[in-house]
Symmetry: C2
Subunit: 200 residues, 2 copies
DNA sequence: TAAAATACTATACAATCGTTCAATTTATTC
DNA sequence: GAATAAATTGAACGATTGTATAGTATTTTA
């Protein structure tokens, strides 16, 4: 995963960012067992007191990490697709190519997401981070599909089409995490392309 | 959730089953925080020592609960679809109607699944339960799609079509769990029906 | 350069966890 | 009904957790 900050990601000072990055590494390596301040601080080579210095609780740190990871991926995908502004169909292809790229479609990255999803219900901060990321992602997809619809009427409402595509993406991520050898990245892209062609 | 045992679910003695059911209740109510032997045994009104009497570890209990829940749902869906044996398209509709029924599409039920998914990587027993459930489900779907293919050639390989449908189902379940108000059960069924029609 | 602000350390605390196991209770067998 | 087997209890244990905080170190400001 690239450590460059992107346009949708919040900005953090060095010390905070170090903890956020260590958190992602820890979750990616160990799943939910990596969501421990001692493990995170071992990775960051700092003392555990720093978590409560920089964040109000471990959940705030986890929420920041979730947002950092997800907005990073979303930003990259949005940027890649905006190259094709004016052609919604190509926008979607570029978006899908990025979110199923080898940078993202690694079991370790997906494992971190799975951990975050599992925490959405039990932490208000993580809930907020999730809602923000999810809404941004889903609205982007819907906007592109509305663009397709304006060129040539699509067969599902853009809202429903976006929900379908978003769900398939999530489901493929989940499956790739749980059973990595079931399908390839190329097949994942192909399935989503099929969906997009089916609504057009 | 019905407490009747179904054809794919293993059989357990009363004491074991009581713990399994309490486990599901606990996860459904509290998510991953409910995966605690004290919370589970409180619900079952038994002493915590019983977990290690009936199971070798809490992970074995969790694996049994995962299998119990999932095979219960899969059995019901398979049974419902088998009424339409000989008509693969109707089989799939019946299957989808069951898996998006109000019995299943409750945030609490989906929450339990999310907890289990999050544990797949860190417990061999849960990994095994997951692989078994996932394989049964996916093979069933593929078999029906092969049936469709034999009647009239489908546009994706049955394997890939099954992966796509399975992913969409998982994704819709996940989304429904994380943001329950985004879409209705009817819309979920509609999206999957659209997928099935798109491959035909 | 001294003072103020920020960053960081290390320890302690209370709480919770899953595993273990001797003792007790209940159910089954003969 | 006595003996055996199975089920159950409850306490103890060592391990781990996140939060809190006084003290120390480093950086920034004037």
């Amino acid at each position: 995963m690239s450590n460059q900050q992107t346009s949708l990601q919040p900005r953090y000072k060095k010390g905070k960012l170090k903890l956020i990055e260590a958190t992602l590494e820890s979750l990616m390596a160990e799943g939910s067992e990596g969501a421990s301040i001692r493990k995170i601080c071992d990775r960051a080579n700092v003392s555990i007191g720093l978590v409560n210095y920089h964040f109000t609780s471990i959940n705030e740190l986890l929420a920041a990490a979730y947002k950092h990871l997800s907005m990073g991926v979303l930003s990259a995908a949005v940027e890649k697709s905006e190259v094709h502004a004016g052609d919604p169909r190509r926008c979607l292809s570029a978006f899908m190519e990025e979110i199923f790229s080898h940078k993202v479609l690694q079991p370790s990255v997906l494992r971190a997401w799975l951990v975050f999803w599992g925490m959405v219900d039990s932490s208000a901060a993580i809930r907020m981070a999730h809602d923000e990321v999810n809404t941004a992602s889903w609205e982007f997809l819907e906007k592109i599909i509305i663009g397709m619809d304006q060129q040539s009427k699509v067969k599902l409402s853009p809202r429903l089409a976006a929900i379908g595509l978003s769900s398939m993406i999530d489901g493929l991520w989940l499956e790739k995490c749980l059973q990595p050898d079931t399908f390839t990245a190329i097949e994942a892209v192909r399935l989503c392309e099929f969906w997009v062609d089916a609504i057009a």
